[in-house]
Subunit: 343 residues, 2 copies
DNA sequence: GATGAATCTGCAATCGATTGCAGAATAAAA
DNA sequence: TTTTATTCTGCAATCGATTGCAGATTCATC
């Protein structure tokens, strides 16, 4: 009843040839007589033969497995990046080994170790923001294993990266708010030490400056090390007289909570206050009013990163590899939460 | 500059011993003199040695890789199931190879093939609802590879399963609506041929019957092969006089859209119509009013499935394995969309 | 039938790690 | 010092597939 998976040797025995012949026949090697080849392939099919990837890779000295390192898989941004990665790599015959760091730097290190042990062909990684020590990634570089960083950016290593142009995304949203007539805009910030949110702030601030819209620090609403709840933000906004006429939130979540809170006290959105989010979470199109936000093309980011990896694998063969950075331009998704006039 | 990863042979050469000795030393085999052992382990560390998992598994005839098959990874339910799986298996030294079927039955077959080629230790699978042919799964059984199905259920195979008790979940929601005073409840259905939605219907219907709440087929709102939009559902509801006082939706999405649509025409929720969703999507706690829904403990489902797999691996050694089914009881999350009185 | 060319197939080493068994080195006993 | 027991270490085969090289087979040609 229990049964082992067939090997080329089993096939060889059944076909009365050596395993070398089987190996060649299954590779459609022209050295093998076409009749023998067909006979062998038929037997292989009958035995339900699946080549042993372990043995194959061991012999070939390379695997068709690519490692993907993410902080966690159950965040929509990451799972959709992975979706993009998987699609591209699968089409090229690669499999994907996904590991999550779960907010632990040491787990991240262990994960890289694990990938090295699997002799993976390459790595796509979104390093945790807080990890300061990149020695584990340097190990990959040392062994000439192609490494691509995505999403996060403040790393100074000779490695290719796919990045979100958060600066540009924020600029788009700010531009839009201004075009909708907003003149007193609140910046709803994220945690202070986060590089990404910092870039969004810069894009926002610079755009206002360029358009000569006044902006001062008291228009920045921020908690020290986490997010401001929508309710708290609403209270602070309502305390301002005259009321601000626009809010730029660094996340969709904050924006949505804020909308709910403001609606309760009767503030009209977007007529009194226009609000933008960031990320284009699935929710944003469903809530009332639908939220204007910035789409980060996460799926495409995965696809681009995967393609870069394939390219790098190719280039390393000819020694023509040079690391590069690709910035993905985010897209402004205009919805009713800001629509006060036609742009 | 380019450098290969070290092997036991490299270590052996540096230590002036044979590779057998190295292999044993690294396994803390007591046969090896403790001084030799320590010397070898030191050298291994210096060379940054990572054991070649391919070679190791090939020799041992088993791998520490577990395959996970899902329809798609970028759905929150699946990514959080995977999160649970990964956590449990990682702690036991297993890695997880994730493959998505992407709505293609043939891709599902290919994925199983791919797992077989990797000589994976076991498989956790959520088969697509529409695939009728389970031969590829039977192949796993044939080769004694532990297989666990999760979430989906209408499969008749001698295989362990972790299932959501959708019947019970629906019963909980129905019970709750009745307790909130609803007497004329609409059932907002999903696609007709879907087993899961069918079970939810049965749980709903039976509960109404048990509580002597009248229910007839014209209270079922349904599209033939997909979901009813919130707007269409709202129109059909508003056409009823007197207005229904409750809605059971098989998904959160439909429920949320319905709420938005009803709010626009001034229907008070929950006072006029109480509404329940199903799944406890992240959104549901954020929207206004927050949606009463059924939590499926998806992360826990992954964890349970993973534990079952580990157990099965253990049991197969002693030939004590018997497939079993575990039903996870869903949880009613009560929020304001139904809260008309204290239960 | 002999010779040479062309076509096909098998031997054996290899990838990196593991392990049974034999044999070397060391320690203990005679 | 010799013998025996004990402790260590290495040889070589193995897992399953690949591949250079040599040898076998077939076929055409003289």
């Amino acid at each position: 009843m229990s049964q082992k998976q067939a090997t080329i040797h089993d096939i060889a025995k059944k076909a009365g040839v050596s395993s070398s012949t089987v190996s060649r026949a299954l590779q459609d090697n022209p050295l093998i007589n076409s009749k023998t080849r067909e006979r062998i392939q038929l037997i292989a099919e009958k035995l339900n033969y699946q080549p042993n990837v372990l043995a194959h890779n061991l012999r070939k000295g390379r695997s068709h497995m690519v490692g993907v390192l993410v902080p966690r898989i159950d965040h929509h941004f990451f799972s959709s990046v992975i979706g993009g990665i998987e699609k591209v790599l699968n089409e090229q015959g690669y499999n994907v080994l996904i590991l999550q760091a779960l907010d632990s730097v040491s787990k991240e290190v262990i994960n890289v170790q694990s990938l090295l042990e699997h002799r993976i062909a390459g790595v796509l990684a979104c390093p945790m923001a807080l990890s300061q020590d990149y020695n584990h990634y340097k190990l990959l570089v040392k062994y000439d294993i192609p490494l691509i960083f995505f999403d996060n950016t403040h790393i100074n290593m000779p490695v290719s990266m796919v990045l979100n142009d958060d600066y540009k995304g924020a600029a788009l949203a700010a531009e839009h708010l201004i075009n909708q007539g907003c003149r007193k805009i609140i910046f709803l910030a994220g945690p202070r030490n986060n590089y990404i949110y910092q870039r969004r702030f810069e894009g926002f601030r610079d755009t206002l400056k360029k358009r000569n819209i006044p902006f001062s620090d008291d228009q920045i609403f921020q908690n020290e090390s986490d997010f401001l709840s929508g309710k708290d933000a609403a209270n602070r906004i309502l305390a301002r007289m005259p009321l601000p006429d626009g809010v730029f939130s660094v996340t969709d979540h904050q924006a949505i909570q804020l909308i709910q809170a403001l609606k309760i006290v009767g503030v009209k959105i977007p007529q009194q206050i226009a609000i933008t989010g960031f990320s284009n979470a699935e929710i944003t199109s469903i809530i009332d009013p639908p939220l204007t936000t910035i789409d980060q093309h996460s799926r495409e980011m995965g696809a681009v990163a995967a393609k870069m990896l394939l390219e790098e694998l190719e280039q390393r063969k000819n020694n023509t590899f040079i690391p590069k950075k690709i910035y993905l331009t985010p897209e402004l998704i205009i919805r009713q939460s800001t629509l006060r006039r036609n742009e």
